[in-house]
Amino acid sequence: MTHEVIMAGFGGQGVMSIGQLLTHAGMEVGLNVSWYPSYGPEMRGGTAFCHVIVSDEFIGSPLVTSPTDLIIMNRPSLDKFEQTAASGASVFVNSSLIDREVKRDDIKAYYIPANDIANRLGNVRVANMVMFGAFLACTGIAPVDVVELCFKEMLGPSKAHMIDVNRKALREGMKLVDK
């Protein structure tokens, strides 16, 4: 089992955090993991993205060149990464902000109105967690309670008040692909 994931969006949409969350959760369930971010001034305003690999095999290159999963938070990221996806990949598209559909027919698209759901929950900043919930439900990489423990730890005491809304966002996202 190997998932090679790219998560991409505007700087500030929290793609780095959900990348770290997946890495952390993967580690907790005993898998090999790596996280590699885009870095530098590109992150100001431009697209930010990270590469996450979760695998039961040894991880060589931490660079993801043909992702098996894409979590796409904005339109420029879809334009940038759709072509790179491996055949059969799952693509999670933030349909609140992205006004087009996936063009390729050899990949499976999930349209998640993440910003709308996050707004409904009262904090647009948890749109990333809605997306992550959908991804988690599809891939089943880690049980939800492990993921919740991980983000509790990552948020730390100073952001403890954010735990609840993050948990809700995660669950809402999971529901969307729970059939």
């Binding site: 890495t23 993991v33 996280w35 530098g40 060589g60 931490p62």
Partner: protein
């Protein structure tokens, strides 16, 4: 076993230094290694040590020179353009036989270049980037765990031989995160000599200590150099480290270090699916270079070709050719400027050379 934690390479560098007993850090910001100093600026005061942001790399390396001469475990960290600026100081440190650790998280050059990962400072690190006949011990980790281990060991090597040690990492190792155990692997027992040469203030109970590299009389300077040369020979005899993976019976051998060695592992896996068996030789010490291990590949009957894969225009390949000494064809594949060769393009190149597919 101690618990695994997820940590960014640059932060692990800072934590490892503190673990190794380093209590003095001098540095100047530069991407992609800013998190080293940022982390240490928080951690060092907690550990009772000194963090100082110097006004430049030139100042930072001279602060290192001063602190090392005063007997401290001291470190600096930078990236390619900053390391270039340090070369004068590094030459003085080597000449004065001062132990210290210098971290280079390489980025694309030359000139101002870019900020993405690169391995184009191999020549500078291993062949003497500054003036004069001197050597740095150059250690090239390929995982964050190994980076922690080599930093701890690097301080010991520096103290044992009174020589500067460089950790040669790159932007990918600095920026990536992976799980590590935050405790050094079992250390090789080393006899670390007392720093009785350090400038600690002389009360007359011992001869004065003077840290100096000026010798105006050629005979004397040559004597100095002979002492250094002798030390470098000892390091070459004792300190070579490398890892070989599945070399016995392989069709081709990839030689790669650091990030490229990780990519080599992926290449080997993919090659196997095509029926090509790929062995990997991963130098861990770039100086001293594992010439003997490379030479041994030259004598292996199965091996059809040796490939150096690098994020450079071809630097380590020169040492591989020296080691192979004409016994096998040596090929090179590399990308520059912050481009990271993908496993597939390397595999394509190997297939082209072997004329398979």
């Amino acid at each position: 076993m101690a618990q695994k934690v997820l940590i960014k390479g640059n932060e692990a560098i800072g934590e490892a230094a503190i673990m190794a007993g380093c209590r003095h850090f001098f540095g100047y910001p530069i991407t992609p290694q800013n998190e080293v100093a940022e982390y240490i600026s928080k951690r060092m005061p907690e550990a009772g040590g000194c963090f100082l942001q110097a006004e430049s790399e030139l100042a930072a390396i001279n602060m290192v020179y001063g602190a090392a001469g005063a007997g401290a475990r001291v470190m600096t960290s930078s990236s390619s353009p900053g390391i270039s600026l340090m070369q004068e100081g590094i030459s003085y440190i080597a000449a004065s036989e001062l132990p210290c650790l210098i971290v280079n998280v390489m980025r694309g050059g030359p000139g101002l270049g870019g900020i993405q990962p690169s391995q184009a400072d191999y020549f500078q690190a291993t062949k003497g980037g500054g003036h004069g006949d001197y050597r740095l011990v150059v250690l090239a980790p390929s995982t964050i765990q190994e980076m922690i281990d080599l930093i701890v060991e690097g301080f010991d090597i520096a103290d044992q031989y009174r020589n500067p040690v460089m950790i040669l990492a790159d932007g990918m190792l600095g920026q990536m995160m992976e799980p590590v155990v935050l405790e050094p692997k079992k250390r090789i027992e080393r006899q670390l000599p007392a720093k009785d040469w350090a400038t600690t203030g002389c009360d007359g109970s011992r001869p004065r200590n003077v840290i100096n590299s000026l010798f105006m009389i050629p005979e004397q300077l040559e004597q100095r150099n002979l002492i250094l040369i002798d030390k470098y020979k000892r390091i070459e005899q004792n300190e070579v480290q490398y890892q070989s993976i599945d070399i016995e019976g392989s069709d081709v051998v990839l030689v790669a270090y650091g990030t490229m060695a990780r990519i080599a592992r992926t290449v080997a896996k993919k090659a196997k699916e095509l029926g090509i068996s790929v062995g990997i030789l991963r130098p861990i010490t770039l100086w001293p270079f594992p010439y003997d291990a490379v030479a041994a590949i030259g004598d292996m009957p199965n091996v059809k070709a040796v490939f150096s894969i690098e994020m450079s225009a071809g630097q380590m390949v020169e040492d591989i050719k020296l080691g192979i000494n004409g016994k096998k064809p040596v090929y090179f594949y590399g990308r520059t400027g912050g481009m990271i060769p993908s496993p597939n393009e390397i595999l394509d190149y190997i297939c082209d050379v072997l004329e398979v597919r």
